[in-house]
C-alpha cells in the first residue's frame, strides 16, 4: 500500500534517503532550502520507486501528499516574505505606487458598496425595531454592525475579488512569460519588488478602505434615518458612537489588517508560482480569489471569537 504524506520518511530506507538529500545541499543555501529540497526529492524518489513497483496509488493519498507539500510551500513562502520584508533595501517608491493602485483605484467600488450596505442594513433593521418602539437604537445598531463586522468584511470581499485577482493574474502572467525569471537573472530581486511591495501595500490599504467603508456606510444609514426619523447629524453621530468602544475599533482594524495581508499574500503566492501558460494565469487569478475569501471567513471567525473573550 502507498504510504501517504511524509510518513514514509519514518521507514529506514526513506529516512536514509532523506538525510542523504539533506546533506546534498550546503548550509550556504539556508536550512529551509535544504529541508525543502530534501522533502521534494524524497517524495519524487518515492513516486519513482512506487511507479517501478507498479503499486496501486490511492487518489486520496496523492491528494494528501499534494496538500502537505502545498502547505509546506505556503509556509516557506510566508517565511521568505517576512524575512525579505524586514531586510533592506526597501522599495518605498513601488510600495507607494501599489498603495495607489490598491487603495485609490478601489475607492469608487468601496464607496458604492459601503453606501448601499449602510442604506440596506438600515432599511432591513427598521421594521424589527419599530415593533419594539426602539427606532432610536438604529444609529448605534448600524454603527456596531458596520464598524465591528460589515465594513472590514465587505471591504475585504470586494478587494479579494478586485485586488486579489488582479495581483494573481498580473504576477501569473509575468511568471508564464518569463518576466519574473528575467528579473531574477538580472539580479533585480523580483520577490522584493513584486511580492513584498504588494503585500505591504494591501496590508496598509485594506484597513484604510475598511474605515472609509464604515464612514460611507454610516453616511448612507444617516440619509435613510434622516429621511424617516428626521434625526439630526449630530444626534446620529452621538448615538452611533455611544456603543462603540476602543475594542470595537481595534478589532475592526485588526481584522482589516489580517484581511489585507491575506489578500496580498494569497494573490502573490498564487501568481508568483503560476505555471502551465495562460491556463495557469486564469487558475492563479481564480484560486487567489477563492482562497482569499475562504481564509477571510476563517480569520473573521477566529478574531471575533478572540475579541469576545476580551470583551
Amino acid at each position: 500500500m502507498r504510504t501517504t504524506s511524509l510518513a514514509f520518511l519514518s521507514t529506514k530506507r526513506h529516512s536514509g534517503r532523506f538525510f542523504y538529500n539533506c546533506c546534498a545541499f550546503t548550509p550556504a543555501q539556508g536550512f529551509d532550502v535544504c529541508l525543502y529540497t530534501a522533502v521534494r526529492r524524497c517524495i519524487f524518489q518515492k513516486r519513482i520507486s512506487l511507479a517501478n513497483e507498479t503499486t496501486q496509488q490511492s487518489g486520496l493519498g496523492a491528494q494528501w501528499e499534494e496538500l502537505t507539500l502545498g502547505l509546506y510551500d505556503a509556509v516557506r513562502f510566508l517565511g521568505r516574505l517576512f524575512r525579505q520584508a524586514i531586510r533592506p533595501p526597501f522599495d518605498f517608491h513601488e510600495i507607494i505606487r501599489q498603495c495607489f493602485e490598491i487603495g485609490y483605484r478601489s475607492l469608487p467600488l468601496i464607496t458604492l458598496t459601503g453606501f448601499v450596505t449602510g442604506i440596506v442594513f438600515t432599511k432591513q433593521s427598521r421594521p424589527s425595531l419599530v415593533s419594539f418602539g426602539a427606532t432610536s437604537w438604529l444609529p448605534s445598531l448600524i454603527a456596531i454592525a458596520m464598524i465591528r463586522a460589515l465594513a472590514p468584511l465587505v471591504t475585504a470581499l470586494i478587494c479579494a475579488g478586485k485586488v486579489g485577482s488582479n495581483i494573481g493574474a498580473e504576477l501569473g502572467s509575468m511568471k508564464v512569460t518569463e518576466q519574473i525569471d528575467a528579473m531574477e537573472v538580472s539580479g533585480a530581486r523580483p520577490f522584493d519588488f513584486l511580492v513584498v511591495t504588494r503585500v505591504v501595500a494591501s496590508t496598509l490599504m485594506i484597513p484604510v478602505l475598511a474605515m472609509y467603508c464604515a464612514f460611507v456606510g454610516l453616511m448612507g444609514s444617516f440619509l435613510n434615518i434622516y429621511q424617516n426619523e428626521k434625526t439630526s447629524f449630530i444626534t446620529f453621530i452621538s448615538d452611533a458612537f455611544e456603543q462603540i468602544g476602543f475594542l470595537d475599533i481595534g478589532t475592526s482594524l485588526t481584522k482589516a489588517i489580517a484581511f489585507g495581508f491575506t489578500i496580498g499574500a494569497v494573490g502573490c503566492y498564487k501568481g508568483f508560482y503560476a505555471s502551465n501558460g495562460t491556463q495557469g494565469v486564469g487558475k492563479a487569478a481564480n484560486t487567489a480569489v477563492v482562497l482569499s475569501m475562504f481564509l477571510i471567513f476563517i480569520e473573521e471567525l477566529v478574531i471575533v471569537q478572540v475579541s469576545n473573550w476580551l470583551r
Binding site: 550556504a28 543555501q29 518569463e178 538580472s186
Partner: protein
Amino acid sequence: MAYAHQIDYAQRVIDIRGLYKSFGPLKVLQGVDLDVFKGENVVVLGRSGTGKSVLIKIIAGLLPPDAGTVNVLGRHVSELSEEELRMLRLKLGFSFQNSALYDSMSIRENLEFPVSRNMPGMSKTALDDLVKETLDAVGLLNKIDRMPSELSGGQRKRIGIARTLMLKPEIMLYDEPTAGLDPVTSVEINNLINEVQERYNTSAIIITHDLACAKATGDRLVMLFEGKVAKAGSFKEVFASDDPEVQKFYNYNFIQ
C-alpha cells in the same frame, strides 16, 4: 561569418560536469559535460525536448540540478547563497526565447530597471546616457519611448539583448535567439550576437536548432541528443559525422 575575436583557452568561464536533471519521470539531462572558454561562443544544438533551455537555466541558477557540478566564473552555482547567486547573475546576460520584456514598462524603463535595481546610486543623466548608448548598439534608439507591444518580434529580441547588456555581462546565454523570426531578421540577430561578442568581449552559450544561426555565431558546436552530448567540435567537424541523428538534423535544416 563570425567576427574576429580572441578566445582564451586557458580560462574556463563555464565548467559543467556530469549534469543530470529530470522532471518527474522525464529524464532531460543525463550526464552533460560542457566547457566554455573566455571569449568563446558555444552553440548548443539539439531537437526540441533535449534539455537545451534547461541547461542554460541551470547555469543561471533558475533551476537546481539533480546531480553534477556547474561552475560559472569559478563559483559552484548550487553552493551559492541567495545573495552570492544574485551577484554572480550580474555577470550573466540571459536573452529569453520570447524576449521576456516587461509589458507594463516602456523600452526606456525596461533597460533602466536592472541598473536602477542593482546600482541605485547611479545618476539619472548617467543612466539615460547608458540606455541611449545600449539602444544605439542594437540599432533601436528611435524606439526608446515605445511600449514592448508596439515592437516586432525581431525588435523585441534586440531590446531583450540590449537589456541584458545594460549590466555589462561577462557571459551571455541566448535561448533560441532566432526562433520565430524571418531569415533576414535572423541574420540581423546573428550579426548582433557577434557584435556583442566583439564589442563587450563576452563568452556565450547560444541555444538553437537553427543551423544558419549556429554556423554564423558559433566558435564551437555541441550537439545534445537524449540528454547527452552526442557531438562537439567546429561546425564542419560535427556535421562530418556519419551519426544518423546528426545527419538527419543537418538535412532537415538545410533542405529548407
